[in-house]
């Protein structure tokens, strides 16, 4: 707050006095920017950059049964990258990511579209949006385990279907399967897609749509040529959220697949559970690289800095 005051004061001073003073004013407004950015930079520096560097360092260490030894070894990486398990696990994780991303995008977009274009009053929009938000405020763990009594062999879905005579015996693949994993992930993460898309859709100038309609565009053309391009930044941000969350997930995969499916983070956790930190760290660095590449790809398609 104080930074904001000083900054604006100097601007006014600068505006009042031309030439040399204005330069100082410009400089001090830069200073103000720096001051305003310092808290963020410091927090990220200490709690993000430093720990990541630490992980990177540890990933080169040696370890044996009992302890870790500072060293510079690449075996942790060759072990990780050289095993087909890693690749298969990445493939599996990517499969989840692709499925969940596709589904959350599809659902998230239409929900946001409905809220933004079909609900007329902002109050109603907000109410409906918050209706979507409430489940996300319940503990993740509880939300996840709540699927088990629904999907189980004797769960809600199966008993209902059997009573209705639709199926003769319980459907086994509802729980402890890829289906269950994806379902729970979509359930957990859709809000992260809805929110940013809703945000961008709300900012689309309605006259653009009118203009397109006047020019003879049909509904699909408007959607495809006007709305979606303008919603791209929101889609990009939502995609970043979802991709990141799914790539790093271990608890959903563990619980919903009944421990029968692998994910990269789960592989790391198994290593960590036996205190094999360098191996886990190497895995972490690889995972980090993969996720960063995916995000870089998203950012290449949409420059959120410019378009946000």
């Amino acid at each position: 707050m104080t930074a904001a005051i000083t900054e604006d004061d100097t601007q006014i001073d600068a505006a009042g006095k031309p030439g040399f003073v204005a330069n100082i004013g410009k400089m001090s407004s830069h200073v103000a920017s720096y001051l305003q950015a310092v808290p963020l930079a410091m927090i990220l520096g200490f709690f993000f950059l430093l720990p990541i560097l630490m992980i990177a360092v540890v990933s080169f260490w040696d370890y044996d049964f009992a302890s870790l030894y500072p060293d510079f070894l690449t075996t942790n990486y060759t072990d990780t990258l050289g095993s087909w398990v890693t690749w298969k696990t990445y493939l599996n994780t990517l499969k989840y990511t692709a499925l969940v991303w596709g589904l959350t995008l599809l659902i998230g977009f239409w929900v946001a579209y409905f809220l933004a274009f079909h609900i007329r009053t902002t109050t109603m929009q907000m109410v409906l949006f918050l209706v979507c938000t409430v489940p996300f405020l319940t503990s993740n763990i509880i939300r996840m385990i709540s699927w088990i009594p629904v999907l189980g062999r004797n769960g809600l879905v199966n008993t209902t279907l059997i009573e209705m005579g639709v199926i003769p015996r319980p459907i086994e693949w509802l729980l402890y399967s890829d289906f269950a994993v994806v379902l729970a992930m979509v359930h957990l993460n859709t809000l992260f897609m809805v929110t940013p898309i809703f945000n961008t859709l709300m900012r689309i100038d309605r006259s653009l749509i009118e203009a397109a309609r006047d020019a003879g565009a049909n509904g699909w053309q408007i959607l495809w040529n006007v709305i979606i391009p303008l919603a791209k930044p929101g889609i990009a941000i939502g995609s970043i959220f979802v991709v990141t969350l799914v790539m790093a997930d271990f608890s959903t995969v563990q619980v919903m697949s009944g421990g029968q499916s692998a994910s990269v983070a789960l592989m790391m956790k198994n290593q960590m559970s036996l205190l094999q930190y360098p191996a886990a760290a190497a895995n972490a660095v690889v995972l980090l690289m993969v996720v960063l590449l995916m995000v870089a790809a998203i950012l290449r398609v949409v420059d959120i800095r410019k378009e946000l």
Binding site: P39, L50, P51, F114, L130, C132, L137, A248, S251
Partner: protein, 273 residues
């Protein structure tokens, strides 16, 4: 003609939206129903009697774990994260309005912080604190760990807000003789207030729920999600579901409160304008 088409589209989408809401609330309803199990009930169907036993049990001492203390910690931590999140995101948002050297680096650092898998950050912060001989605790290391997750959300939201924010409003205010502080406090702040509330709520929620980032950074005492997880090693009663039901109701009231505040602000703004 186009009007008719829109109504048809409206009904399809309304049905879709309803299905989505049902999907969101479906498993919660299972939690809701199961939390009313009888005293001998378990975590799965079929129901074993009906009672409100587990809601009372929630406020009694459990065999293992302590809901009250861990809830207090999580709630306090959530508030801390919320406040810091709002202040730091706002400042960063203001900073990013001008292009300063290093702004791109800081921006990508922020995005990276969002992207790095939670468990990695958790491990890293735990190790750093250990190496520096600082005691990890929920209010220090876990607090930082949560911020690495909530701040990017906050900054991105502020970024979006200020990118679309025309400086014309402030200029107009200054032309009318307002000091820059007045312009900020009376023009900018009210306009971005709903977004700030959003940033705060998001920060609180994400922190309150955070599990993986707290796992290796919480120090001696558990936050609520960790406590729930720890309790599953011994507790198999619907008390966990009762907790879920109570949290959902609690969230409902918080959200209603936020809604009331936002609407109130808007009304005031409407009067001012």
């Amino acid at each position: 003609m186009s009007h008719e088409k829109r109504t048809f589209e409206f009904y399809v989408l309304a049905a879709f939206f309803t299905l989505f809401v049902l999907f969101l609330y479906g498993p919660l309803s299972a939690v809701f129903i199961l939390s009313f199990q009888g005293p001998d009930g378990g975590l799965t169907f079929p129901l074993n009697g009906v009672s409100v036993h587990w809601f009372f049990n929630l406020f009694e001492q459990q065999a293992v774990g302590d809901f009250g203390a861990s809830f207090k910690r999580s709630f306090t931590l959530g508030l801390m994260v919320m406040i810091v999140n709002v202040v730091v995101s706002l400042l960063a948002g203001l900073a990013f309005r001008r292009n300063f050297r290093g702004s791109a680096v800081l921006f990508y650092l922020t995005v990276a912080s969002l992207v790095v898998p939670s468990i990695i950050i958790s491990l890293g912060i735990g190790v750093v604190f250990q190496q520096f001989g600082i005691k990890p605790a929920w209010y220090s290391s876990a607090f930082g760990a949560h911020l690495t997750w909530t701040l990017p959300f906050g900054v991105l939201i502020m970024f979006a807000v200020f990118n679309r924010f025309s400086p014309a409003y402030e200029e107009a205010a200054r032309d009318l003789g307002a000091s820059s502080w007045q312009a900020f406090a009376h023009v900018v702040l009210p306009m971005i207030a709903p977004s700030l509330i959003g940033v705060g709520l998001f920060g609180f929620t994400l922190s309150y729920d955070e599990f993986a980032r707290t796992l290796m950074t919480s120090g001696t005492y558990n936050t609520l999600p960790l406590e729930i997880y720890g309790m599953t090693t011994n507790v198999t009663t619907p008390v966990l579901y009762a907790l879920g039901t109570v949290t959902t109701l609690f969230s409902f009231s918080i959200i209603l409160l936020a809604l009331a505040i936002i609407l109130g602000l808007r009304r005031r703004q409407a009067k001012v304008v």
